[in-house]
């Protein structure tokens, strides 16, 4: 029997995951995608606590829970909560922790998931905390890359767009440091990767370089990871300037490697032209679909000491 390295754990930040845990998540995702196991969460109650709006993350977590036979309680915004009466997040989540077997939390304040994880013995999954972390999206991205390229080591990835504020990028970068991945960072100066992340990449020996346009990197990479420019972060003049910069069109892909796949955590605004959707490179909707399988794997691993396929040789 293979040891479940995630049982009873929290998923708060990708910086806490080691290679063996990540490999286990990838293997469990592949197994559940190939062979659905509808009773893994039978009798379990999963609290989906979304204090701020979410489409894909919330619905994919709900779908994952239901597909494994679990029950969903929760909310999709904080309008109906006692938090509006002045109750602290700490007290609110303390109460919910008594009702559920596992807590999923999305909150606009950074560190909210950590606070909840410290407070309860129940497993907690961070579904996004401000601009800090979004570990499950990073795992979805990693699984999608592994699935479409059949490897992780030796790949060249371009991370494009908002490298400063994107929590998905920040979470994903931490995982990249565990693999032999070459990074091309494509962003305007105002949205470049923060210094602390550059220091992390240097410390871990990751090869990376900075670029200003997609044309500079498109021939060199196996994965083009696009992100949305968060307009609310910039002033009007900056937004206008960036509107047409870093927009991926079919023409830019003319010299792409045949195995190139384009990913995007979605929602997209205008950074990927719709004509790209019909090229063999577009892979973002498959990536979104994988969200359910990866989240199934996480729920299954956190709540089951043993899983049926763990007895099989790996």
């Amino acid at each position: 029997m293979i040891e479940n390295r995630l049982y009873g754990r929290d998923i708060i930040s990708t910086r806490e995951l080691d290679l063996s845990q990540i490999e286990q998540i990838l293997q469990t995702t592949s197994a559940l995608k190939a062979q659905p196991l509808p009773d893994l969460l039978k009798g379990k109650i999963i609290a989906h606590c979304f204090f701020e709006p979410s489409t894909r993350t919330r619905l994919s977590f709900e779908t994952a829970t239901l597909r494994l036979g679990g029950n969903v309680i929760g909310f999709s915004n904080d309008e109906s909560l006692s938090i509006k009466k002045g109750e602290t997040l700490y007290d609110t989540m303390q109460v919910i922790a008594n009702y559920a077997d596992l807590l999923i939390i999305r909150h606009r304040q950074e560190g909210a998931a950590r606070l909840v994880a410290d407070m309860t013995t129940k497993p907690v999954i961070n579904a996004g905390d401000g601009a800090n972390q979004h570990p499950t999206q990073a795992l979805v991205d990693l699984f999608t890359i592994y699935e479409c390229q059949n490897r992780l080591d030796g790949l060249a990835l371009a991370l494009v767009g908002d490298l400063k504020y994107s929590r998905t990028i920040h979470s994903f970068l931490e995982i990249c440091t565990l693999y032999d991945i070459r990074l091309f960072l494509v962003a305007p100066d105002v949205l470049t990767l923060p210094e602390n992340f550059c220091n992390l990449l240097k410390k871990k020996g990751v090869r990376f370089s900075f670029h200003q346009s997609l044309e500079e990197v498109v021939q060199k990479v196996d994965i083009l990871y696009m992100t949305r420019i968060q307009q609310e972060r910039l002033n009007e003049a900056e937004n206008k300037k960036l509107e047409k910069q870093l927009v991926l069109t079919q023409a830019i892909l003319a010299n792409a490697k045949p195995n190139l796949k384009i990913l995007h955590p979605l929602p997209r605004i205008s950074e990927i032209d719709i004509s790209v959707d019909h090229t063999p490179f577009a892979h973002y909707f498959e990536q979104a679909a994988n969200g359910v399988y990866v989240r199934q794997a996480l729920l299954a691993l956190l709540l089951n000491k043993e899983l049926p396929f763990m007895s099989q040789s790996s």
Binding site: H107, Q109, G130
Partner: protein
């Protein structure tokens, strides 16, 4: 030529010398010296052979613990901390940079959960070359020691 001390000698207590200029007040708050109603004499921007200017602090009738001395190194890695007994140095406290620190600081990130919820702040401390960085356990933001605010 007569030699006069800028800050009067103490008979018993602790002397913290070679504090980088400008850091003395942060150390006072860090060690909660005002709350303890101790007699503290402070010299600011004193001439220093090592670094042009320095701060100096003498705490009467109070011996710092090893942990307190270690905390000082976050702001004053070059400080010397001596225990005084009957006007003589009887012990030089050897310090090491702590790996973490709780309760003392406020996270400078305005959207960090530790600023609004009833929890103690907690920072991991890391030295990179001559720079000291603090990383908030909650929001994971890493800041230079000069950006951190001491809870008053």
């Amino acid at each position: 030529m007569s030699k006069t001390l800028s800050v009067a000698a103490i008979q018993n207590g602790t002397v913290i010398d070679h504090i980088p200029a400008g850091q003395a007040f942060r150390i006072i708050y860090l060690l909660r010296l005002l709350d303890k109603h101790l007699q503290v004499t402070v010299g600011l921007n004193l001439p220093s052979k090592r670094s042009k200017l320095k701060d100096l602090m003498k705490i009467k009738n109070y011996i710092l613990t090893k942990d307190q001395a270690n905390e000082i190194t976050i702001f004053a890695p070059t400080a010397t901390i001596n225990v005084i007994n009957d006007f003589e140095v009887t012990e030089k406290i050897i310090t090491t940079l702590p790996t973490s620190i709780a309760c003392i600081f406020i996270c400078p990130n305005p959207v960090c959960i530790s600023r609004t919820e009833p929890v103690d702040s907690f920072f991991y401390i890391e030295e990179q070359g001559k720079q000291v960085f603090l990383s908030c356990k909650y929001c994971e933001k890493t800041v230079d020691r000069n950006e951190i605010e001491v809870r008053i």
